[in-house]
Symmetry: C2
Subunit: 388 residues, 2 copies
Amino acid sequence: MQSFLQFNPTKLWFGKGQIEQLTKELGTPGKKVLLVFGGGSIKNNGVYEAVKQQLDHMQAEVYEMSGVEPNPRLTTVKKGIELCREHGIELILAVGGGSVIDCAKAISVGVYYEGDVWDIITRKAVPAKALPFGTVLTIAATGSEMNNISVITHWDKNEKRGWSSSLAYPAFSILDPEFTYSVPLDQTVYGIVDMMSHVLEQYFHLTENTPMMDRFMESVLLTVIEAAPKLLENLHSYEHRATIMYAGTTAFNGLLSSGTDGGDWASHQIEHGLSAVYDIPHGGGLAIIYPNWMRHCAEADPSRMKKLAMAVFGVDGAGKTDHEIAYEGIEALRQFWNSLGAPNCLADYNISDARLEELIHKSFMKEQVGSYKIMTRDTVREILTNSL
Amino acid sequence: MQSFLQFNPTKLWFGKGQIEQLTKELGTPGKKVLLVFGGGSIKNNGVYEAVKQQLDHMQAEVYEMSGVEPNPRLTTVKKGIELCREHGIELILAVGGGSVIDCAKAISVGVYYEGDVWDIITRKAVPAKALPFGTVLTIAATGSEMNNISVITHWDKNEKRGWSSSLAYPAFSILDPEFTYSVPLDQTVYGIVDMMSHVLEQYFHLTENTPMMDRFMESVLLTVIEAAPKLLENLHSYEHRATIMYAGTTAFNGLLSSGTDGGDWASHQIEHGLSAVYDIPHGGGLAIIYPNWMRHCAEADPSRMKKLAMAVFGVDGAGKTDHEIAYEGIEALRQFWNSLGAPNCLADYNISDARLEELIHKSFMKEQVGSYKIMTRDTVREILTNSL
C-alpha cells in the first residue's frame, strides 16, 4: 500500500427530496447565484423548477448561463467567468451532468485568475482562490459531483484537456435519483460505461497489497453489472437509478484509489483525443477503446485482467491459461456493454482511419500516456486500429 | 436505499512517515497544544519522540495530559477541560487509540460548555462550539480517528455512554502503520474484533436495496479475515499492519452505512454495560457477546446471517436450510475469533451470573436497544446467559 491522503470536502446530499437542502446550503438570503446548465432539458423535466423554488425561497439574485456543451468548451467557461465578474457572483450552481459541473469548476477557479484560464486547464498555472460552487446532478456518469477533476475542450485547437485542483471540489452536491428519470436510454448507457471505466482504470494499478480497495472496486463493478440491465428495462425505477447514481459517484471520488498508484488512464486519454476530434459521446468512445486497451495490455501481463475476470465476470479458471482467463473476462466486458446497446467499434460512429495520425497525436497531450503499461505512438495506433 | 448525507471533514494522512504532516497541520508556529495520551507506552515505542520532534519544530507550547484510561473516564475529561481553559489551548492532539481520542473529543466540546460535560455525553445538551483536535493513531480498533463518536465512562455511576456530535470529527488524523508495531498480541486481537463488530453491526440493517454497501461491508470483513492471522504471525509486518489499520478506519467512518438505517448496535450496548461494570477490554467483551446476539436474532429471521455466511465465510448452502446456513456462518465467526485468541465466554474473564441483573440494567441506557431486532430485558438476559 502506498501512503495517501484521504480527504474529500464535498457534502453529498443523496436521495429523494434532497433538493430541499439547497436552502440550507445557500445559508443567507439574497445571495448572487450563477445558475449554469446545459441544453435546457432541465426545463422539461421539472428540475429547473425545483431548483428555482429553493432559490426563490432564499431570495437569491439569480443569473443564468445555459448552453454548456456535452464536451464543455473554453469559450463557454470564459463567458461564465465574465458573468461572475460582471455581477459579483457569490455562488455558482451547476445543474446538470459532468459537463456542466466541469464547466462550473473551470469558471470557479478562473474568476480570480488574471491570465487566460486555459493556463490552469493546461497546468501552466495553479489557481490560488476559487468561487464556491455547488451542484445538482441530473445524470449519473462522470463522478464530477464529488471530485476535483474537470475536462475542458479548446475547440479551435481540437484539444480536450483534463485538470484538477484542490480548490475544485464542489462545496455540496445534491443527488436525487428522480432527477435522472428522464435521462434517455443511450445517455444512461454512456453514463454506465463511463463509471465502469473509471473503476477499471483505477483497478489496473501496479501497487502491491491493496486487498480492500481491490474488493471495493470489484464491488462497484458487480453492483453496476447487476443493476444496469434492470434499470434499462425501467428507466423510472427509483431503486436502480439510486444504485447507479451512487455507484457513479463512488467510482470516482478518490476513495477507490486510496493507497494505490491511481491506476492507468491511457484509454481515457485516447478517448479524449477521439471525442475532441469527432465530438462523439465520451461513454460511447470508451466502450470501443477500453476492451482493446485491455487486450493489448493483457498480452504482456494478464494477471490483473485474470483477477478481474474471475472476481467480476465469474470466469471459471479451471484448465485455462492466465491469458485465456483474461481474454474471456475482456470479452465478457465487451459483451456486457454491447448488450446494453453501447457501440462496438468506431465504424458505429462512421469513423474510419482517415484521421488516425491526428487521433494518435491528440492522445499525447501529456508527456506520459499510461502507467500500468506505458503507451507509445505505435501501441496507441494498434489500439485505435483494432477499434476501427 | 434511504436518503443520506455523505460528509466527513477529517483529513486522513495514511502511511509510513506521515507524522511529518503534523507540521503542516499545526499551520502556524507557537501554537498552544494539549498533548493527550494514555499509560505512557508511546514513550517506549518512539511515537512520543516522533510527535515531539514535529511540535518542537513548530515551536509549539506543549502541555501534557497522560494517563487516559482504556475506558476513558469522565474525571479525566474534566481534568483535560480544566487544562485547556487554564492554558488557553488552541489545539488538542490525541496520541493513542480510541480511548485517548474519545477523551479528546469530549474535552474538545466540553471546553466551551459552561455546564457539566456529562450533559453532552448523555445527550441532554448539544455543544455549540469545539476546540479543534487532531489525532496520531497508535492502535487499529475503534475507528474514532475518522468519526464523530465517543464513549465515556462515569465510573462512580458504572455508566459507559456513547455520544456523537457534528463538531466531534478530528480535524486531521495521522495513521502510520509502523506506530502500531508495538501493540501487543492481545490488544491487536481486541482491535480486530472491535473493527469486525463495527462492520457486522452495520451489516445487520433493515434497509432494502443497498447492494454496493453490503458488498463493501463484506469486502472489509473478507480483508480483515485474510490479513489478521498473517499479522498475528508477524506483528512487525508493515503490509498487514497497514491493511488492518485502514480497515479499522473504513469500518466506522460513516461510509459503510450510507443509505442504510445504520444497523443494529445492541451488542455494543450490551458490551458497554459489561465493561462499565467489570472494566474488561471492549474487544474481548464483543467477541463473547456478538455470536450470541447473532444466534438469538437468527432464530426469528436468518436471512442476513445466511447472506453473511455465504459471502464472507464461504458456507456452501447446498441442501441446507436457511437456519443451518446462518448458524454455520455464526459458528465460523466464533471459531475465527477464537483462533486469534479472543475469549469465548464470560467465564474466561471469571465473570459469573452474580451481577446479571445489573448488566441487563446497564444495557438499557438508551430507551430502545437494537433495531434489526429490538431487545427486551428478557432477550438481553438470554444473550448474557448464553455468554456465561
